[in-house]
């Protein structure tokens, strides 16, 4: 442990309630609790506590409380506690400060500064309990026009269509790789996606062979810089292929799965030796231009007989609109944009918190640019990075997204408490770990139901809000910024977002 550091959390045990059952000791992978048999007493090492709250909710006697530690450094607006502590850690180790989960800095969350519309009087609201309300969404390239043959009784479509994937609701599970998360967590996502009619994304960790048959139609397989697990069978065991150029939590940074998380099955799935570090570089070493990207897009299309849409995922960065335009012109059917609040299993803290731009601004810019260039229908936009609720989803769609990826929200539905220690591999909730003892804490049958419930709940809420606007099909809100108004935003922000201020 680090010296000279204040504990982040204090663990309080109510001795009169504690029954010495040692559940806390068994539940805590960080060894915060320890039972002394001779003294029949529980000891607590609170400096090891990450605040995951696992012991608190599992304690049968409700004897535990974990709170922020009351000891504080002298108040200083510049030298805040986290800056202070991280500096001390670096002074001790000379290393990069790592973290997990998404950016927790108080950057403006634009979703909270935009409000949705509702009908009054002349345009009646539609009640989703009584009227059909449609959320079905297609992701992929669409033709600008359809050629229809009118000979015969039934008109026939003559245009050749590009492949699209169909979603029952416009929410997909974001890329979370097997290796970064446990097999059971990974399988829970796949099961939920299949049951609800949406998609999960394999990330760059491959797709276990035994899952390929059952889950292919709900899988988006990633082709990232490390090419882990990528072969023809993998590519064909998917509904869509995604080339990962960047991710919101760490734009410009590659991935690193430490060797201790590369267990036998993970190694087999990733096609790498067991116990070796899985390092994926930031750049794809065969892509240094839009032309190179185009070659990879068409290589993947060729390998899959032009039957699957190909997505390109990028982090939201300063020139994102021009980049997205290039991607579409390179032949991508989908552009996935991951904003600065996107989550991660492990990233340098400095990068996660300071690199990239908010998704909302990036999404609005990309959508506008593609429209200005007349190529918006040539691709779908998937928005990712920090979606917390159904209203965020609807606002994103109104800003121009076709659908959204959720990562952290899905993890929270599984049990995650955002302790931000994913990179330690000691996830007490069995999600972000390969430790067999911890992994067993998840039961995919139960966890996938929690995910399905989440999707179901959000879909209900989406329908309620759509109905309130007098809209009964999700496609009629897509890019419909007339239904958004900004609150407490400056003019430049309203301009980038392309929305009017409230009251206008």
């Amino acid at each position: 442990m680090y010296s000279h550091l204040l504990s982040e959390f204090t663990v309080q045990r109510m001795d009169d309630r504690c029954i010495r059952c040692q559940v806390c000791e068994r539940q805590c992978p960080n060894e915060v609790h320890e039972y002394d048999k001779e003294l029949d007493r529980m000891f607590t090492y609170e400096e090891k506590c990450v605040g995951c709250q696992r012991c608190v909710v599992m304690c049968p006697a409700k004897a535990l409380f974990v709170r922020s530690h009351p000891s504080e450094y002298r108040m200083n607006a510049s030298w805040t506690r986290d800056k202070f502590q991280n500096l001390k850690k670096q002074a001790e180790t000379g290393g990069v400060v790592l973290t997990g989960s998404g950016n927790d800095k108080p950057y403006r969350i634009y979703w909270d500064h935009m409000v949705l519309n509702a009908s009054q009087v002349t345009n009646p609201s539609i009640d989703p309990l009584r009227e059909p309300m449609e959320l079905k969404t297609f992701i992929g390239r669409k033709p600008d026009t359809l050629k229809i043959n009118m000979d015969g009784d039934v008109p026939k479509v003559e245009s050749e269509l590009h492949p699209n994937i169909t979603l029952k609701s416009p929410v997909l599970f974001s890329a979370m790789s097997y290796g970064a998360i446990s097999y059971r967590a990974y399988k829970s996502l796949a099961m939920a996606a299949k049951e609800f009619g949406v998609m999960f994304n394999t990330g760059e960790g491959g797709l276990p062979v035994e899952m390929r048959k059952d889950y292919a139609s709900n899988a988006i397989v990633q082709c990232a810089s490390g090419r882990f697990g990528v072969d023809q069978d993998y590519l064909n065991s998917a509904a869509m292929i995604e080339i990962k150029i960047g991710q919101g939590a760490k734009p410009g940074i590659g991935g690193h799965l430490p060797g201790e998380k590369v267990a036998q099955h993970v190694a087999q799935t990733r096609m790498i030796p067991q116990g070796t570090d899985a390092l994926s570089p930031a750049p794809q070493h065969d892509i240094y231009s839009i032309e190179d990207l185009s070659m990879l897009i068409y290589a993947l299309k060729e390998a899959t007989n032009y039957e699957k849409p190909v997505s390109v995922k990028i982090a939201a960065v300063h020139n994102v609109a021009a980049i997205a335009s290039g991607i579409v012109r390179a032949g991508a059917d989908v552009v996935a944009i991951d904003g600065i609040r996107g989550g991660t299993g492990a990233a340098p803290l400095a990068t996660r918190d300071n690199v990239g731009i908010p998704l909302e601004l990036a999404l609005a810019s990309v959508d506008r640019r593609l429209r200005e260039e007349g190529i918006r229908s040539k691709c779908s936009i998937l928005a990712a990075g920090g979606f917390r609720c159904s209203a965020d989803v609807l606002k994103a769609i109104a800003l121009g997204a076709d659908a959204v990826y959720i990562g952290t929200a899905a993890l929270v539905a599984m049990g995650c408490t955002l302790c931000q220690k994913c990179y330690t591999g000691k996830c007490a909730w069995g999600i972000c770990t390969q430790n067999p003892y911890l992994v067993k804490r998840l039961n995919p049958e139960i966890t996938s139901q929690r995910l399905v419930n989440l999707l179901k709940a959000w879909s209900h809420e989406l329908k309620e809000m759509l109905g309130g606007m007098g809209i009964n099909a999700i496609e009629s809100i897509r890019g419909n910024r007339e239904h958004l108004r900004g609150i407490s935003l400056e003019e430049w922000e309203l301009n980038v977002l392309g929305v009017k201020g409230a009251g206008e």
Partner: protein, 370 residues
């Protein structure tokens, strides 16, 4: 007597003689008067087809100069002589005894395209659309009411019968289709260009309801170079019709399924071919789904079409007698002008009633009506 309250439904009416016989405006004016409570005196207008047989080969531009802005007129006429051969022009006659709110100067021009070499490849219709779009978006205080051949739109701020009297429609004009609308767009500022019908080339649209998908529709149309300038939702319908029916050649039977498609659960129950067709239409033309309550009467040469939204929040009534086909917000308005109707029916949501010259196509929607 008009009740003292805000009435929220527009009144609309259309009548067509499917034999092509031209007739005066009496039916249209009387029918819309019968729905006076649906109007608010802030907007009304008429579209008439078969209007200018003597100039039928020329585009008839009805151009409004707001605040009678003569410099806008000079500028517009420079544009017109630069881009068109103008064979005849005149102020549209109005009745000085009729008081209407702040009338603009309205002029009509009969023109033929005068294309420059770089525009030689453009079809005449495309050429006219681009010039009309240019005038509507770039020239201040100018708005083109209508731009089709052998047809015209007359509209303004007032009750429709006042607009009819102002332009002396009943005295001066005859046509084989008359459509009319009685109310100003609900949530938009009142001005002469903003009243219905909306038009592009010979397409006109009168609309009752509100299109909540306006923003989505508008942005899709912009991809196809249609720019909405009128601050009202009906405009998207006129451009969407022009895009799908004229440019892309889709028949109204298909277009109606784009505007008001069947629900997904209905599509699921269709046979393979229909399922493929309807799924593809919804996929590709999703941004042109017209959401929210609407009834529209769309007209162009040889055709008058009525459609309601897919859950029929704004129903429409159809009626027929002999060669006459009627579409109206209310059955009573039809009966007022044709007491001995042979047939009336209320079509299902999204099911178009299509009246075509020399056919009985309108009867096809009967078996799908209630």
């Amino acid at each position: 007597m008009i009740p003292e309250k805000d009435i929220d439904n527009c009144g609309l009416f259309g009548v067509m003689d499917t034999s092509g016989r031209r007739f005066g405006g009496e039916m249209a004016v009387n029918a819309i008067k019968n729905m006076k409570v649906r109007g608010n005196g802030l907007g009304g207008g008429f579209a008439i087809y078969g209007l200018y047989p003597e100039y039928k080969d020329y585009y008839a531009l009805h151009i409004m100069y707001q605040d009678k802005n003569m410099s806008a007129k000079r500028k517009t006429e420079e544009l017109l002589t630069e881009n068109f051969y103008v064979v005849y022009d005149e102020e549209i006659p109005t009745n000085p005894e009729i008081n209407v709110f702040s009338p603009p100067l309205v002029w009509r021009y009969f023109v033929k395209p005068q294309k420059k070499s770089e525009e030689a490849h453009m079809l005449d219709d495309e050429y006219v659309v681009s010039k009309v779009m240019h005038m509507n978006t770039e020239v201040e205080d100018v708005y083109v009411f209508s731009s089709g051949k052998n047809m015209g739109v007359f509209k303004g701020v007032g009750f429709p019968e006042e607009i009819a009297d102002y332009f002396m429609l009943e005295k001066l004009y005859e046509g084989y289709i008359w459509t009319v609308h009685s109310r100003f767009p609900t949530n938009t500022p009142g001005w002469w260009g903003g009243a219905h019908p909306f038009s592009m080339l010979d397409w006109t649209v009168v609309h009752n309801g509100e299109i909540s998908s306006y923003g989505t529709n508008r942005r899709f149309l912009e991809l196809h170079d249609f720019y909405c300038t009128l601050h009202t939702d009906t405009e998207v319908m006129a451009y969407a019709v022009d895009l799908l029916m004229r440019r892309q050649g889709l028949p109204i039977e298909v277009v109606s399924k784009i505007f008001a498609p069947p629900m997904w659960n209905a599509i699921e129950r269709m046979n393979k071919e229909e399922k493929e067709l309807y799924t593809t239409l919804r996929m590709v033309y999703a941004p042109l789904l017209m959401n929210g309550p609407f009834t529209v009467v769309i007209a162009h040469h040889n055709e008058m079409i009525g459609i309601t939204d897919r859950i029929r929040l704004r129903p429409i009534t159809a009626g027929a007698k002999g060669n006459l086909v009627f579409l109206s917000s209310e059955e009573m308005a039809i009966r007022r002008v044709c007491p001995d109707l042979e047939l009336t029916w209320t079509p299902a949501g999204g099911e178009p009633v299509v009246a075509r010259l020399n056919t009985e196509d309108h009867l096809k929607s009967l078996n799908k009506s209630i």
